[in-house]
């Protein structure tokens, strides 16, 4: 059941690098990360790779396997023909640190720009009440494990570093949507999403949804509704006219 797997792994750093050819023994039921670990333990002790849980829960081992953005721990070797060479390269949208490890600080910077959750006071008995159906919308988005594969895939920034300052990316549109749909949040997230986060630059090609290892419907459930909410406030002709002549100062969500 075990076989010799041919691999090409990108080795290098900021100054450049190349694909290295390796042959490594693998066995039944293994994933790409197992093969990388065996390489590390037997042939390339200093091969840099980021990983933690090896269970698809922490989102650390993101890379591109045969050009597809994937979590290495959730990519089974049995999905490939044993004769096929598997090529592993670092995520392309982020600067390389070394080998398969990239500098993902872009995402942590964007996280700092999201204004935090702002709830009203608790109920008189010290508890809060929300309906299950209302929390479920946000819960879908909070399944995000921050693997940043969506950020890596999004064509707005993938080959366009110049867009990075003005564009927060799918992961943070999820966050804006989650907070905007939170039953208790008191902020209005729409202008923020439009302005600072640049949601308007997204042209809903759904690549982010396609690579999400958690199966979150990023485009359909977060980005499109968020765009609609922004548009409702900003561009709906009735809202605009109502505002202009002073007879309508709330939108369809009943907000100012």
């Amino acid at each position: 059941m075990g076989y010799e797997l041919k691999m090409r792994v990108w080795r290098g750093d900021q100054s450049g690098g190349d694909l290295g050819d390796y042959t490594v023994e693998v066995s039944e039921g293994e994933v790409v990360l197992d093969a990388i670990h065996r390489l590390q333990a037997t042939q390339a002790g200093d091969l840099a790779v980021r990983w933690n849980c090896k269970a698809g829960k922490c989102g650390s081992c993101s890379a591109e396997v045969n050009g597809r953005p994937r979590l290495m721990c959730m990519t089974r070797l049995s999905d490939y023909d044993p004769a096929e060479t598997i090529t592993v390269t670092p995520m392309r949208s982020f600067p390389v640190i070394r080998d398969l490890v990239t500098d993902v600080s872009f995402n942590y910077e964007k996280a700092k720009q999201v204004p935090s959750f702002a709830p009203p006071p608790r109920d008189a008995d010290g508890k809060r009440r929300m309906a299950q159906i209302d929390v479920e919308r946000g819960q879908e988005f909070r399944k995000c494990i921050e693997c940043f594969l969506c950020q890596n895939t999004c064509h707005v920034v993938r080959d366009h570093d110049e867009n990075k300052p003005a564009f927060a990316g799918p992961r943070f549109f999820l966050r804006y949507a989650e907070l905007d749909m939170h039953p208790l949040d008191t902020h209005d997230r729409r202008e923020l999403a439009q302005g600072a986060a640049g949601i308007g630059m997204c042209n809903i090609t759904k690549c982010c949804t396609e690579v999400c290892p958690e199966g979150i419907k990023i485009t359909d459930n977060a980005i499109i509704p968020m765009k609609e909410r922004v548009v409702d406030k900003k561009y709906d002709p009735l809202v605009w006219l109502g505002n202009k002549i002073g007879i309508r100062n709330k939108d369809y969500d009943g907000r100012d």
Partner: protein, 605 residues
């Protein structure tokens, strides 16, 4: 890059340094910041990736949202009984009293827990808890908690040093004065000057071959504390979670949440027998169902029925599974069957256990809504850790605090499921408050860090680069994992423990001559060589304490001393660094005495 390369050593000054960015570390940092301290979090991985994300089932807190009869006294009693009365009673009391408010706080910060029909935080059943008590979000509660704390931390603007590993603590006289670290990315060294250091480094599971723990769990906090002069207690108690995946080999040990059993899953052997009814210990007979009918009724009617034996504390279930496998009644891949498919609808399973469904589907090609899972025990959690003061989590060293899995006492000899996430937030807050107060109280008389100490820490971190032609650290780590698994595992015996101690000595000698290839930039071989020293020291603690404790209790089972011994029930084993600085000494210490007003909760027995 040499240590003297451009830029040299980076220096930072803080009031409080928190080492580790899991739930307890983040909660401690938030508390210290809110108390006015200047705080930094230093962590080995990226922010938000710590082991807390792996916690699945929930966070125990007696909020009484589903069962108004639940309160801190019942939770306290469950915790003490689960730990076979070896817990530090005051920690168990504070934990039960403060958990509900700590959970509510998470909600204030944006956590979205599952709800009851009344819109309150829902609570789920778990082993050893009398009432449904675990606040949860499907089966990804840990992710929700770490993300909530991470977002709070970011909102407060607390400094985070990500992918930065602490290798030594500094002391001035008998006080903590700072920490020495390296950036994983560049290999550059960092000196933190801080009068308060909070250890929140998690556990030790990576010293075992079959484990649910990640590479980070190398006992760093345990070892740093020992080397700084602090003491460890309860190190003989290691929790083997009853349900880890057994197949395919690549995921052997990966956790299968206890919620599967809490939500109706049962255990069967290869003969199809629901075997847990044969393993109900006297200690839990009164509260455990003895027929399948009663057990099944309990899910709907808890008042008039007793709990199914599948929901006994983890140590009992893990031992039972181990016995069934040893008796030849295991599954094809050497486990036992965990079946929820025949007991709950596919919709229910997918809604309540989405990540388990996903995990088995993706990694094992098993549809848990249609067929049983194969599972077996996996090293999951260490009850032992740094001995701390219950109120402030300070160790015996002034300025050194420990919280979460790397602290000891709270869980006694066995931790109940769900008590870990609540432990993190209850004691995280207490430690953060106390660490900030300690730093504030020193005024201008802060302990300093000497150049000699910095130079020594640097030499020690670079030592593996000095050796030529030695062994590679991966091989030594694999041998250690095999030794601990085979000789210090779920069932122990004196001869094997003695041989484990001998093996560990040999591994320590081999580790003194290990070599790493390459340079200091993001070099996992070098990182492992540093972590390995911690793993060896902590493994010695476990084996030594396990050999000394001649009884079976909680997460420590001795084949040669099969029952609990009341005399041992009154004692903790304490470990401290020996005079050579590379090994440990062991001593006995009486357990703190519980006051009479708390003793009454146990008198009916």
């Amino acid at each position: 890059m040499s240590p003297d390369a451009a830029g040299g050593i980076e220096r930072h000054g803080y009031d409080v340094i928190v080492i580790g960015a899991g739930g307890s570390g983040l909660r401690a940092a938030i508390a210290a910041h809110e108390s006015g301290a200047k705080v930094a979090v230093v962590c080995k991985s990226l922010l938000g990736k710590a082991h807390t994300v792996m916690a699945e089932g929930g966070c125990a807190a007696a909020m009484g949202n589903l069962y108004p009869d639940d309160n801190w006294q019942v939770h306290f009693r469950d915790t003490m009984r689960g730990g076979k009365m070896l817990n530090n009673w005051r920690m168990a009391q504070l934990h039960a009293q403060e958990a509900p408010e700590r959970v509510m706080e998470l909600e204030d910060w944006g956590a979205l827990f599952d709800r009851t029909d009344d819109g309150l935080i829902s609570q789920r059943d778990f082993g050893g808890h009398r009432y449904a008590r675990l606040a949860h979000i499907g089966d990804r509660t840990g992710l929700e908690i770490i993300r909530t704390l991470q977002q709070r931390l970011v909102a407060l603007g607390i400094d985070v040093f990500m992918e930065c590993t602490v290798t030594d603590l500094f002391k001035s006289g008998d006080q903590i004065s700072g920490a020495f670290a390296y950036w994983r990315e560049t290999g550059r060294f960092v000196v933190f000057e801080a009068p308060s250091v909070v250890l929140a480094t998690g556990g030790i599971g990576k010293s075992f071959k079959v484990t649910s723990n990640s590479w980070e769990y190398t006992g760093d906090g345990h070892a740093l504390a020992l080397r700084a002069g602090a003491t460890l207690i309860n190190m003989e108690f290691v929790q083997f979670h009853p349900t880890g995946m057994v197949w395919p080999p690549s995921v052997k040990g990966l956790l299968v949440t206890e919620s599967v059993r809490g939500d109706g899953g049962i255990l069967r052997n290869s003969e199809g027998k629901r075997f847990m009814f044969d393993y109900i210990p006297d200690f839990f007979k009164k509260e455990t169902a003895d027929t399948e009918e009663e057990a099944d009724r309990w899910y709907e009617d808890k008042k008039n029925n007793r709990r199914p034996p599948e929901l006994l504390p983890r140590d009992e279930v893990a031992r039972a599974i181990n016995s069934e496998i040893k008796a030849g009644r295991g599954s094809p891949h050497g486990g036992i069957f965990l079946d929820i498919a025949s007991r709950r609808s596919p919709e229910f399973i997918k809604r309540r256990l989405p990540s388990m469904y996903h995990q088995f589907k993706e990694l094992a090609d098993v549809d848990i809504t249609a067929e049983p899972m194969e599972i077996g025990p996996t090293c999951h959690y260490v009850m032992g850790g740094v001995e701390v003061d219950p109120e402030t989590e300070v160790s015996v060293v002034a300025g050194l605090y420990a919280v979460g899995e790397c602290s000891g006492g709270m869980h006694g000899s066995n931790r109940l499921g769900g008590n870990s996430l609540s432990d993190l937030i209850v004691f995280g807050k207490r430690a953060g408050d106390a660490a900030a107060a300690h730093a504030g109280g020193l005024g201008s008389s802060r302990p300093g860090v000497s150049d000699e100490e910095v130079a020594a820490a640097q030499r020690s971190a670079l030592a593996p680069f000095e050796v030529q032609g030695g062994e590679n650290p991966y091989t030594i780590q694999q041998d250690l994992q095999q030794t601990m698994n085979d000789l210090v595992g779920i069932i122990r015996v004196a001869a094997e423990l003695e041989s484990a101690l001998g093996e560990i000595q040999k591994l320590k000698e081999r580790a003194a001559h290990m070599t790493v290839e390459g340079h200091r930039q993001y070099n996992p071989g070098w990182h492992l060589s540093i972590d390995l020293r911690n793993m060896l020291l902590v493994s010695e603690c476990i084996a030594k304490a396990a050999l000394a404790r001649q009884e079976s209790r909680g997460g420590h089972t001795r084949d040669d001393f099969p029952g609990p011994d009341p005399e041992w029930g009154g004692k903790n084993l304490v470990l401290r660094l020996d005079s050579t600085g590379t090994g440990v000494d062991l001593s006995e210490q009486p357990l703190p005495v519980m006051p009479d007003e708390l003793k009454k909760f146990f008198e009916e027995e």
